[in-house]
């Protein structure tokens, strides 16, 4: 194989070298972030195909007029997203199968809306009560501490999808029934300045009781999907505990997992 320095290097990056990245140093958007977004766009639009090598970091930084750490920061953020793979001694490649959706703390409302299903919510209960032992434990409160309990029936096209029971520390945010019927709980929390950071979820299944079947327009004994979740804000304080049941005929959990090394 013929080998000339510049030529062979260019040959490993047929598409990347022809892309131009526009970096704006006047912008408040960090340079590494500008680069990451443009690389992501190039991957998404197929200009960088799966398996393509990116070219080494040093060349890339020289070509872009950036320092190597800045280029690495951009690349690392895409590695974290699962779009690129790095191998020492080999190079940085676009992954073969793209991760479509990163793992997210799923919001039923957002999921249904994203699927074009126009979710509707009926608030069945919205009051402040003393916490039972299990709720207090989940929310890190003293037993008998005040919590707001919400019960909501969520439907699409006039058919119930899920029955949601949630507990929140009283006074954490304003839980207006009208607003709860027009949007999701997590959106309300976000707009109140609460940043969700992590959650612990348990997903299981069981047969519907008579009451549950009636609520969800199913027959007694039908298989239901169940979820319990405690969500934490960015300081690690529990902000929400929920027990949900879903009609298995109308809903399933869809996850994209990334394995962190």
């Amino acid at each position: 194989m013929a080998k000339t320095g510049g030529y062979s290097r260019a040959a490993t990056t047929p598409t990347l070298s022809s892309l131009d990245f526009a970096l704006d140093r006047g912008s408040p958007v960090p340079l590494y972030y500008q680069l990451a977004q443009q690389l992501e766009a190039a991957i998404e639009h197929g200009q960088l195909a799966p398996g393509n090598l990116l070219g080494n970091e040093i060349d890339l930084s020289v070509r872009l007029g950036l320092s190597r750490p800045t280029v690495r920061q951009a690349i690392q953020s895409l590695v974290d997203k699962g779009l690129l793979v790095r191998r020492r001694g080999v190079g940085t490649q676009v992954v073969h199968s793209q991760v479509k959706r990163p793992l997210e703390l799923s919001s039923l409302y957002d999921d249904l809306e994203a699927a074009g299903q126009a979710p509707a919510t009926q608030v069945v209960r919205n009051e402040t009560v003393p916490a039972s032992a299990d709720v207090a434990a989940a929310l890190g409160l003293a037993e008998g501490g005040q919590v707001t309990v919400l019960e909501r029936l969520r439907s699409t096209y006039g058919q119930p999808v899920a029955f949601l029971c949630n507990y929140l520390p009283a006074g954490l945010l304003d839980l207006d029934t009208a607003r709860l019927e027009s949007t999701g709980l997590y959106r309300l929390m976000r707009s109140a300045g609460i940043t969700l950071h992590s959650a612990r979820q348990t997903i299981g299944a069981r047969s519907a009781t008579t009451e549950e079947a009636a609520l969800l327009d199913e027959q007694e004994g039908t298989a239901l999907l169940t979820m319990q979740r405690t969500a934490y804000d960015d300081t690690g304080r529990p902000v929400e505990y929920g027990t949900h049941i879903y009609r298995a005929s109308r809903y399933a959990f869809d996850f994209q997992l990334l394995v962190r090394p």
Copy 2:
């Protein structure tokens, strides 16, 4: 408030300043990783309590004899794990509620073993067949391409827990029935040098058919938990597609989610 440089700074880090971190520059373990592990241990053992401030990065780097980027790299890895929170202008704190388990691509075998349940596996089917359309699509193969199909019944204490059906590209690894009965599929894959990187999972529920009920020692119509998963290696190639059913009375999925900003 009395304020003397050294004193007030020490006051914000009552515990950290009394901890000593032992960094070994002769070790092949990176310095940032040594620091991260010692910080993590200090958090786990309660020497750094939830809400404690870590002290600013500059001081920390001077005290440890490290550069600031190295200290930042250690801190960032714990922020990624959900153990620390950083706020510009405020500082770095230990989160209030610790993330017990990071999100993982769960292996039923490992989960059961970790719970002290001594899982046993019976291989019901292990053969190479042409791929059906759905299996070929999931694995990115041509329809009719060769795939290995595995059917396994997993039990603990002599009672079935799940029935697992998996498809893998033929020849990807040696799937010895005896080894499959003594360990989990993911462990076999790891020991064959396959690094799992991401997966797409769907979790749902449905009623057991007569055959499924018989397999799992349940009654027809019982609620079952179902999972479909396609797993990808670190280059993004699909390496496994599975359809699993679980006895809801004996198993539930337990997840720890981190929300990436």
